[in-house]
């Protein structure tokens, strides 16, 4: 039986959400914080429970590769992830399995399509915190293997348009490899929408009286993006992405959301919005696409 994508998720990775969840893997602890997003993830998890899937595939902006797209290629990782920006909030002991077979297949299919790809096979490698946060919030049980994909920084070297073309090619490779594998997979695009941070932090990081969007312009852009995605207008969103990325300083520059939407075939059906909230000034939405429900 051919494999398939059973869900695509916009799964932002602020470490604050894990910090506020207080899982046993994370050293720091919080009293509360960022509930609209955390409750959104909670509802997402309930919906994913209804699906039968084998593997999570995550593309993370915090594994940054300027030379090609890289894939985790070691069967198991166990280590400590310390966020280099918010080490006070995120020091997470992770243990995860990798679907190396599927990763190899996507890597090879991408290469055949003309992309520069490479497997990461160094067992000492530390998995980036974006991957860990998105996977934890989506599946805290860590009972599904993952495929970890790096963010090729083609936006930096060329433009958003070039990034999108590469994301489209990577999506085609992802899709064909999934179909050939027989796996049922969930795709995670690990990124925020608007992405301008505060440069100061509250004495109590989870003090929600201090949390808001960095500025109103970002909020307007976030709402426009969400409205397009909620109403199946993903092609229009892709068309507007260069301006959105520039104006909202969006983390869509990393290619994760483009890759996921192309992998889903640019859905014309509505996305489910699970929650929107700001994290240290950035705009974040948890959204899901379910091809089998349409």
């Amino acid at each position: 039986m051919a494999g398939s994508i059973v869900a695509g998720v916009l799964a932002p990775h602020p470490p604050h959400l894990v910090y506020a969840d207080n899982p046993p893997q994370n050293e720091p602890s919080a009293e509360c914080g960022w509930e609209t997003l955390r409750w959104g993830y909670e509802r997402l998890r309930k919906d994913l429970e209804k699906l039968d899937f084998d593997t999570l595939i995550v593309l993370s902006p915090h594994w940054q590769t300027y030379v090609g797209t890289h894939f985790l290629g070691v069967p198991q990782f166990k280590s400590l992830s310390v966020d280099p920006v918010f080490p006070n909030l995120f020091r997470y002991h992770y243990e995860l399995d990798v679907d190396v077979e599927l990763a190899n297949a996507i890597c090879a299919a991408g290469q055949e399509a003309g992309l520069v790809t490479r497997m990461m096979e160094n067992p000492d490698f530390r998995v980036d915190y974006g991957t860990i946060v998105s996977c934890h919030l989506t599946r805290p049980e860590w009972d599904k293997p993952i495929v970890g994909i790096s963010s090729c920084r083609s936006t930096s070297y060329y433009s958003v348009e070039v990034m999108q073309e590469q994301a489209r090619a990577l999506a085609a490779a992802t899709r064909s490899a999934i179909e050939a594998s027989g796996r049922r997979v969930v795709l995670l695009a690990s990124n925020s929408l608007s992405h301008r941070h505060f440069t100061t932090e509250s004495a109590v990081p989870e003090d929600m009286s201090k949390e808001h969007i960095m500025h109103h312009g970002q909020y307007l852009w976030d709402m426009r993006a969400i409205e397009l995605l909620r109403h199946g207008k993903t092609k229009q969103f892709i068309d507007e992405m260069p301006e959105f990325t520039s104006q909202a300083i969006s983390e869509t520059d990393a290619g994760a959301l483009s890759w996921m939407l192309y992998s889903l075939g640019l859905p014309t059906y509505d996305a489910e919005l699970y929650g929107y909230g700001t994290v240290i000034g950035t705009g974040n939405a948890v959204m899901g696409w379910f091809p089998e429900s349409t």
């Binding site: 890289h70 160094n122 490698f125 440069t199």
Partner: protein
Amino acid sequence: MNIVKGIIVPGIPHPLLCPEKNEGWSQLRAGFEAARAEIEASGAERLLIYSTMWPSVIGHQIQADPEPEWVHVDEMFHYLGSIPYRFRIDADFGQAFKEAAQARGLQARTVAYHGFPIDTGSVVALKLLNPDNRIPASIVSSNVYADRAETTVLGKAARDAIDASGVKTAVVVVMTLSNRLFTDFIEPSEDHIHSPKDEEWNQKLLEFLGGGRLEDVAQLSRTIQDQIRVQKVVNFKPMWWMSAVMGQHNRYDGHVHAYAPLFGTGGAVISLTPSVDSAGDKEYDEEDVDVYKGDRSVLGGALPSAQSVVTAFESKEPAAPSTPAPSAPADGAMVNTDTAPAPVGAYPHARREGDLLFLSGVGPRQPGTNAIPGGAIRDDAGQPNDYDIAAQTEAVIENVRRILHAAGSSLDDVIDITAFLVDMDRDFTGYNAVYAKHFTSVGATRTTLAISALPTPIAVEFKVVARAPVA
């Protein structure tokens, strides 16, 4: 003089992990070794690293784990191998640097967490420049949002902390010149600078830095970013920082130890040694800044006024929500302020008579600590020190500014200055250059006198008359 060396090195790991695979990488490895030997010979007792490969968002982060240990793998060049490390970090200096940064209006914090991911660039620099961990090190991040003013102030804060510690320090910047990597994997033998344009600009930078013209390069930073730098997480700002740490001038002996392509980028190992008679004056003249007054209070509530930030810097206390400007002193009133060094006799900092302010002699000592920026002219045993007249003169002028500010006046209101130097032959040129930077547009009259000694071990003192504010 506490800053004995400036070193520029690339952070891409090939010279560490596989120098034998390419002649240029091997030359860079040799360059690291030559720089290591220079540091050794300089007597440096601390390395201070600013790495463009360690981005931060919440202000500036300073490593303060005394003995970080990990097995590092680069996120892109992971196939070259792992890098086990155990470093010796000067945590006390990290704390002092943080406090100095905060005193200048910056957001800063130390990080001391097991497993904190030290960036590839810092790891490469420390492994090759300090292989036996003989010299304790400090590492500071590069804030992704910091502009020139903020980065310059961070450099000055580093200098404050270095001077206060009195420890000889080598300053290391981790960066490449042009930074465009190839976007496909190459054979080592295929490595070359990515484009002729990158090569042309790299040669200009090598000429400037080889000639010791650090401040000139700093002032060209935006142009360099436009011309040969790909927009990455951290833009080209290390020369702003390095120049600010090292005194914002061009008086260095520059030496290019190695220059070679590193996966398409321009890798260079360059040393800068403070000198009294090299390249000379600045070719460009960007505005200088001492205290950061930018928008950092974005979490809600009113922004602190510039005045309150200045007050916080001067008092080294948290900024008050708002501090009214000092009122004009009454005729005949004495002016004293905690923001200037305490008098060494029974006299006020200033006194108003009519429309004029008369300041008592002002030296470079720092309020509260009595530390002398640039170093004392002699040690406790009376032996002469190699002090920095430029730093002392800057500090004198800053103290004058603080006293005038306390009296409701400013440097722009200065009418007449009498300057006293204890060594006219040695110090006039350095003093005169700093003076010109601050007073050329003011047009105050000036007399410079050579005298045999001043009451404290300082080299320069000013006597100032200024216009008083309207009462």
